[in-house]
Amino acid sequence: MCGATQGGLTLDGIDLTTQTVIQGVVVRAAESLPGAYVRLLDSDGEFVAEVATSATGHFRFFAAPGSWTLRTLAPRGVTADRAVVATRGEVAEVTVILG
């Protein structure tokens, strides 16, 4: 398992026995999109965290087990919501495709 990668982001240094990881990539027009903003909302729609996507369009959150929504904001007023279920010890991989 050491050094294994899923969805392009390395899990080196992350203890999956204690962490609940949600990660993935934002894609627009078949290209990964850097500089988009991904917000993690809880099951009540409350904001929990936000990250900007990396140079390769990737993002990662350390969450808790449960149901979450990923809200992605990109230039030109583009937004997209994606539901995701996270489980401790597993990596929830999400590809957000923007229209």
């Binding site: 500089g35 993690l40 809880d42 904001f47 936000e50 350390f62 904001l73 230039p75």
Partner: protein, 286 residues
């Protein structure tokens, strides 16, 4: 204080960035963000390296602050416009810091870096050259900074506002969900603190909500109206940066008089021996 004197828009920055006496300063949690691109003319302050004492857990002192601003070419009469990522968390933290050391004209760019980027406005990697200045800081204004003993005494008496996410407040998470879960020894919140997440004060694009919306938000949580109808307030979060954002809203936008930021916040309080802690979604009793 008011919205007009504390906040500027992106359009204002584009019109006034080159004015003499206006200094743009980027402050980020991701301290590499500036190096990848910043607003033209902006200098960088690294919230960790530049604003924290390298040994003790505390601020840099008055002399260190003077040296920092002098080196960055910032004078006492300059209009300092702060902005950053993370919806201006660390820019608001720096704003509070500038106020603590008595800088008279400091403002936040509404929406910070995110709004600027989402508007597809220009960024540059060119670093400005600013001549060193001679900055004179005031004694720290402790009327806006709370320490742990005061916070313990405030349980059940003052308006304590925990601005972290509901899961952090309840003790289900120990840190914001984009950071590894390493933090205080215990989870939960200070008994009697209301939970008003900082994010409720901001729109999705990072700009602040209107004064009317903000007033309603904190009234619903039990805080009266500023300037004199409010209660003495202490805001906290995990390390004091999100609560600086809420301090900015209450003290600078809504004009509440007695609002302090507890920068020790949950990483200190949640590791103290013997203090009361409430867990779950309710404030708990004092």
């Amino acid at each position: 204080m008011s919205r007009e004197s504390a906040l500027v828009t992106a359009d204002w920055v584009q019109e006034h960035a080159d004015d003499p006496g206006v200094v743009l300063v980027e402050v980020d949690e991701d301290t590499t963000a500036y190096d990848k691109g910043h607003l033209a003319g902006a200098v960088k302050i690294d919230w960790r390296q530049d604003l924290q004492d390298p040994v003790r857990r505390d601020f840099i002192d008055q002399q260190q602050f003077e040296a920092l601003l002098s080196q960055r070419g910032i004078g006492n009469d300059d209009t300092v416009v702060l902005y950053g990522g993370n919806n201006n968390w660390f820019a608001a933290y720096a704003y509070w810091y500038f106020k603590l050391y008595g800088h008279s004209d400091v403002r936040l760019l509404d929406g910070g870096r995110k709004k600027w980027e989402l508007d597809s406005r220009e960024l540059t990697d060119e670093r400005p050259v600013r001549e060193a200045a001679t900055y004179v800081a005031q004694q720290p204004d402790l009327s806006i900074r709370a320490f742990r003993d005061e916070v313990v005494d405030a349980i059940g008496t003052r308006f304590l506002v925990d601005v972290r996410s509901p899961d952090e407040y309840a003790g289900r998470l120990l840190a914001p969900a984009h950071l590894p879960q390493e933090s205080a020894q215990r989870g939960g919140h200070i008994p009697t603190a209301a939970n008003v997440p900082w994010s409720k004060a901001a729109n999705d694009d990072g700009t602040f909500r209107s004064d009317e919306e903000l007033t309603r938000l904190y009234e619903a949580a039990g805080l009266g109206r500023g300037t004199d109808g409010g209660k003495d307030t202490i805001a906290y979060c995990r390390i004091g940066e999100r609560s600086a954002h809420t301090w900015f809203v209450l003290h600078e936008l809504l004009g509440h008089d007695n609002v302090k930021n507890y920068d020790g916040s949950w990483t200190e309080y949640g590791s103290l021996v013997g203090v009361p802690i409430a867990v779950g979604d309710e404030p708990g009793s004092g």
